[in-house]
């Protein structure tokens, strides 16, 4: 019997299991102990592990990043949460100037096992300051590991791996993925960093979808079947390090690539992937999709044009592979359920 959990349930289970097995794991962040419990992902943990291990913090992102780093130096394994990734911009100093560099700049004398979870917002007028997805900024920085799990399975496994990792790990969780459900084993398990997943095999084009865009790519894949196009969908899962081998192998097969970023594109993950393939002399038709290069507008009529989605992806694939044909936009509506992950991997 498959055991189905939602994405936040998977996170909660990971936290619970790691906190149970390792007394040095603590949770900190605005709202981790409040009634909303970070969309349920920290529900009940304060009650179970007490207020010293699970605590709310003042609104002080830079300072609290420092506190997490200090606690890590003292032997704890802090998991820090930002309810929106936009707030990570306030903590860049500690993350980039200290956490990412400590092990190196102190010649290996110390290490910094912190995990920073941050949620990406989307839709319903989150607007310019509550929608940002700044993983490209973090990917530029050596010394950080960055994961953006798409499935409930990976959410649990990546988080457990992150907590056990001895280095700073950024975990990016898209709010819309919180509705995802999928197979999640009850036992503790880890998903090692640096390996992507082929979510669906295909012949004609490689779609790399980051975070929630992996779901949009899967939906696009279904639309494309209507047009007789077979898309291979890859979820990189881990952004730093990136599994460029997996992507390269797929593109060698399909000859076509669209990277669908869940962020702005300039100097983004798509640029990195495409540049890496080019350096490796892999010839292909390549294209990037991602956020429009403007702040995210609040009004729904503009916001809808701001994000890529399954139909836009499918349509883009179609015009890329069938340049001679008229533009095509899928018309049927998918049953959203269809594209949920049930696993198991």
């Amino acid at each position: 019997m498959e055991r189905i959990l939602s994405y936040p349930e998977a996170i909660r289970e990971a936290l619970d299991q790691e906190m149970t097995s390792d007394g040095s794991v603590i949770l900190m962040g605005q709202g981790v102990d409040d009634p909303k419990a970070i969309l349920g992902s920290t529900r009940g943990l304060k009650e179970k592990f007490g207020p010293v291990r699970v605590f709310d913090t003042p609104l002080a992102e830079d300072g609290m990043a420092g506190v997490a780093i200090g606690a890590a130096l003292a032997g704890l394994r802090p998991v820090q949460t930002h309810i929106r990734m936009d707030f990570v911009l306030l903590a860049m100093n500690q993350i980039v100037n200290m956490a990412a560099k400590m092990h190196y700049m102190y010649g290996g004398e110390v290490f910094c096992p912190i995990v920073i979870r941050s949620l990406i917002g989307k839709s319903w007028g989150q607007g310019p300051q509550h929608s940002q997805s700044i993983y490209p900024l973090l990917m530029n920085i050596p010394g950080l590991r960055i994961v953006a799990p798409t499935t409930a399975y990976d959410a649990k496994g990546c988080l457990i791996h992150a907590i056990r990792d001895n280095n700073p790990v950024m975990i990016i969780e898209h709010r819309h993925l919180y509705y995802q459900k999928g197979h999640v084993p009850e036992d503790s398990y880890t998903v090692p960093f640096g390996k992507g997943r082929t979510l669906s095999e295909g012949r004609d084009i490689t779609l790399v979808g980051i975070s929630q865009m992996a779901i949009e790519c899967l939906r696009a894949h279904q639309y494309l079947q209507d047009a007789g196009i077979s898309a291979e969908v890859i979820d990189p899962v881990c952004l730093s390090p990136l599994d460029t081998d997996l992507i390269a192998a797929s593109v060698l097969k399909t000859g076509n690539l669209i990277v669908v970023d869940n962020a702005w594109m300039t100097c983004g993950a798509g640029a990195e992937i495409i540049a890496t393939l080019a350096e490796r002399k892999i010839q292909a038709n390549v294209h990037r999709m991602g956020f429009s290069p403007v702040p995210c507008p609040t009004t729904p009529t503009l916001e809808e044009h701001f994000y890529p989605d399954a139909k836009k992806i499918a349509s883009q694939v179609f015009s890329m592979l069938r340049p001679e044909r008229a533009a095509w936009i899928p018309s049927r509506e998918l049953d959203i359920e269809e594209v949920e992950f049930k696993g198991p991997f």
Binding site: A60, P297, T301
Partner: protein, 318 residues
């Protein structure tokens, strides 16, 4: 008190009534999903914005937070454009691009609200630097919540404002909570005013929500500020009646006691002023405001959404 003259009571009452009713209408309409954006209502806190803004001059400016409807309206922001903004219409004060959390009406001195806690505090100080630079005697009022005090930006801004004797009034709207987190779970002592004083500015805490006292204190501090004597700090204790974000109340969540809020509801300034005015039934001025609010929603409903080309407009100013 001397300032509780009938003219003032009526002015305050009108503004209170207008803001309360506007937000009640927002709450009422919200479940229809015509406002597709998070709303942070000021219901219960209006007296802070009104008491402060009524003491300002038209050329004074305010900066605030995502919980900014009351401030926007109290400072004279255009009601129609505000509702249209919530609806995401191109006729909104930010053409629909900002929504409830990013309101602006520069014509009336509403210089902008922000969804990132604390960000407008140093910006207020910078604006005040500009005013002083140009030798103007206008004042900047920087509104923020008790949560913003936690941020380094608060410290940096107060320090700079005091150092440069800038014409800015810092107003901390202390509703005791940052989302669900009580302010005494975020600091050791309940002494914001003393802290502010140590940066080098007079400060004052106003409890009880008396709109006249807020008004009078603001007037007094602004006079001093206009004389070039530097910033001041007001902590105004208040209460948010509804949930942090959204149109409902939130007693079911259990993070605060119903009684905490109830005593504020009982002592509602709106009710008190209405009694002071001896109004019975719907007063003509209330009816007028109701008409204005209805017209604002009608305006929003009938306005157009921005066209697709707007997506790429306003990224850069020519």
């Amino acid at each position: 008190m001397s300032m509780e003259n009938p003219e003032l009571i009526e002015r305050f009452y009108k503004s209170l009534y207008r803001i309360r009713r506007t937000e009640e209408e927002i709450a009422r309409i919200y479940p229809t999903d015509r406002i597709k954006s998070p709303v942070h209502l000021s219901i219960g806190q209006e007296a802070v914005s009104i008491g402060v803004c009524e003491a300002l001059r038209p050329d004074d400016v305010v900066f605030g937070t995502y919980r900014g409807h009351a401030m926007y309206l109290a400072k004279g922001g255009d009601l129609k454009k505000m509702i249209a903004e919530l609806y995401g219409k191109v006729t909104g004060c930010a053409r629909g691009k900002g929504g409830s959390m990013h309101m602006i009406d520069i014509e009336h001195g509403v210089m902008g609200t922000s969804a990132i806690v604390g960000t407008t505090i140093p910006i207020s100080a910078g604006y005040a630097y500009g005013l002083k630079y140009r030798g103007e005697d206008s004042v900047v009022v920087s509104f923020f919540g008790d949560g913003a005090v936690d941020e380094g930006a608060f410290h940096e801004a107060l320090n700079f404002a005091a150092l440069k004797k800038l014409p800015v009034l810092f107003v901390c709207e202390n509703n005791f909570y940052a989302i669900h987190s009580h302010h005494m779970d975020r600091r050791h002592s309940d002494n914001l005013c003393e802290r502010a004083e140590k940066y080098g500015m007079p400060s004052e805490r106003i409890e009880g929500g008396d709109i006249f006292r807020i008004y009078e204190s603001t007037r007094k501090h602004c006079e001093r500020i206009r004389r070039g004597e530097g910033p001041a700090f007001l902590e105004i204790v208040t209460c948010r009646w509804r949930e942090h974000v959204g149109p409902n109340d939130d007693f079911h969540l259990g993070y605060r006691k119903k009684e905490e809020v109830e005593c504020w509801i009982e002592n509602d300034e709106l009710k008190r002023l209405r009694e002071m005015l001896n109004l019975n039934g719907q007063d003509p001025m209330e009816a007028e405001i109701e008409d204005e609010i209805r017209a604002a929603f009608d305006f929003a409903e009938s306005s157009l959404f921005p066209g697709k080309s707007e997506l790429h407009e306003h990224l850069f100013k020519e």
